[in-house]
């Protein structure tokens, strides 16, 4: 994973709450064995609609998705994160996220920014008023900014997630430094083995 310090670009407002991962990437896309190429499937059930916000030329090339409450709930499919990133998003702003989605995002370097509802509303308003506005998500300083409107709002990020983003750490590599502790744990752990003989 590449380090992420600051994300900047245009933002696109997705004015819907409860966007679950089935909406982000429908199940027909999950048959693929690759990690790439999911951008075409992003929100695919909505993209047939010419009025859907991602189809509006004013928002072309946006890199920040401004969502609402409970973004990414439901299925654990990491494909949702791959689809958002493959499409070109590098950050998602919302008032809350599904737990598994947020974990998946952190593991891939997609920044999830949680803002209180009123700040989110204001950001949405600013972006709608002028879609060409630059929006900045600063992981280092934990700030979302709209410089030309002199608007900014702080956000919190789990300290560990922030470090991981800033350094682009490989979590498996980090864990393997605890190899001795894992081996020691295994030598005394009581749980019986998973059975190898199964009930008929």
């Amino acid at each position: 994973m590449n380090p992420v310090r600051v994300v900047e670009g245009r933002a696109v407002p997705l004015e819907r709450s409860d966007v679950d991962t089935d909406q982000i990437i429908p199940s027909e896309w999950l048959k693929r064995v690759e990690r790439t190429g999911f951008g075409r499937g992003l929100f695919s059930e909505w993209r047939d609609d010419p009025d859907f916000v991602l189809n509006q030329p004013a928002y072309a090339g946006a890199t920040i998705l401004v969502a609402q409450a409970r973004f990414g709930t439901g299925s654990s499919r990491e494909h949702a994160v791959w689809a958002l990133m493959d499409y070109g998003f590098t950050a998602v702003v919302a008032s809350s996220f599904g737990d598994i989605f947020a974990n998946n995002a952190a593991s891939q370097g997609l920044v999830t920014v949680t803002l209180p509802a009123d700040a989110l509303e204001e950001l949405t308003r600013l972006v709608k008023a002028d879609p060409s506005r630059l929006v900045v998500v600063d992981v280092e300083r934990l700030l979302v900014e709209v410089p030309d409107a002199t608007w900014q709002h702080p956000f919190t990020l789990n300290a560990l997630t922030r470090e991981r983003l800033l350094h682009g750490w490989d979590t498996i590599g980090l864990t393997l430094r605890h190899d001795d502790e894992i081996a020691r744990f295994e030598s005394t752990h009581w749980t019986p083995r998973v059975p190898t003989r199964f009930a008929p």
Partner: protein, 466 residues
Amino acid sequence: MPRTLYEKLFDEHLVASPPDEAPLLYIDLHLIHEVTSPQAFDGLRLASRRVRRPERTLATADHNVPTDPPSTPVSDPISRRQLEALDENCREFGITLFPRGDEHQGIVHVIGPELGATQPGMTIVCGDSHTSTHGAFGALAFGIGTSEVEHVLATQTLPHQRARTMAVTIDGTVPPGVSAKDIVLAIVARLGTGGGAGHVIEYRGQAIRDLSMEGRMTICNMSIEAGARAGLIGVDDTTIDYLREHVIVDADEFARLAARWRTYVSDDDAPFDREVTLRAEDLVPSVTWGTNPAQVVALDGVVPSPQDEPDPAQAEAAARALAYMGLEPGTPMRAVTVDVVFIGSCTNSRLEDLRAAAEVVRGRRVADGVRALVVPGSHAVKRHAESEGLDRVFLDAGFEWREPGCSMCLGMNPDQLRPGQRSASTSNRNFEGRQGRGGRTHLVSPAVAAATALMGRFASPTEVDA
């Protein structure tokens, strides 16, 4: 200091808690399937890593398998490729796999318990959000993403931020006709889709104690629909009796294990971060009307009006849901007709579920124009049901009796709704397009699904004799 069950499980599996890193938990059982694992195995190969504990890993093909007889080839080349990848990966890394057609194959959350692999006191993960199902056994079980699957394969551990605890207590006895599915729909409606976020829920109270293990699995299964990572139910006699049938060990060993398993309960007076109580007497047979599992109404009720929703954002979501579902506020649910009835999924595809549905169906016919299908959760469930003659009951009534798999729960295989079709489904998600593009899903219990198939509209089992 009294501890909750979650805290006991967390403490017992803590491998390391390094400063500035998330606590590292040991994973006892890792279940994998074809959809969320191929990219994880690729990652291992790229980094020249091995699977640390293949003997703690079990694989099955369930999400995209066709539910036709195993002798028919998989017609979709992309699905076939994914199933082959699972075969190859399990062979290369030495993992036990139950492929399509295998006597042990089935939906991952159905086979874990029935093979005796799911045991109290374990940590269990799977690249699937409904892993919470296994919490019914007093095991800490939760869904993970593909990168985490790779992490567990490589290290048999997972960084896990300590969750908050929530007790959901259901006191009293449920009225007749109220099933585990109705109980959990009421819980999800009460908490909302985000109400459980950041929490592990422990279900308690008489109404939970009264449930069989199957019913308890239905409850824990849908914890994720309230946003919770995991659901838990403490071990009691019901748990031990189930395990006696499913874990193959000799009697002495079983007694030793059972004594240990019984410790997986919350201590009396252990404090929870949040407590929610429902009265069993208030619960009724229920059905979802919208596009998320918290949008629930009584089967006797009417389609709600967005105008009654005080929160403007929720009102807008409700209006959008009604437009998608093609429903008018005020319509009695019993007047809503269906095109398809699906009995299956990791929520409701176990023997008890099929028995409940068959009891309603026996000697009757599916309504004209309704496609009704039963997809047993596993080959074991299917064999057992057939030995009781349940397949004949369904087939004689005009149901399809299919091979095990996730099937129409998520519409990855050919079992799908067509645009505009409406289903009564015993699965767990009524999201837009979940069962097929443009499909409209209503979640119900197996008994209500069966009655609905016979009547062609939402109906309770008490109506079918009329």
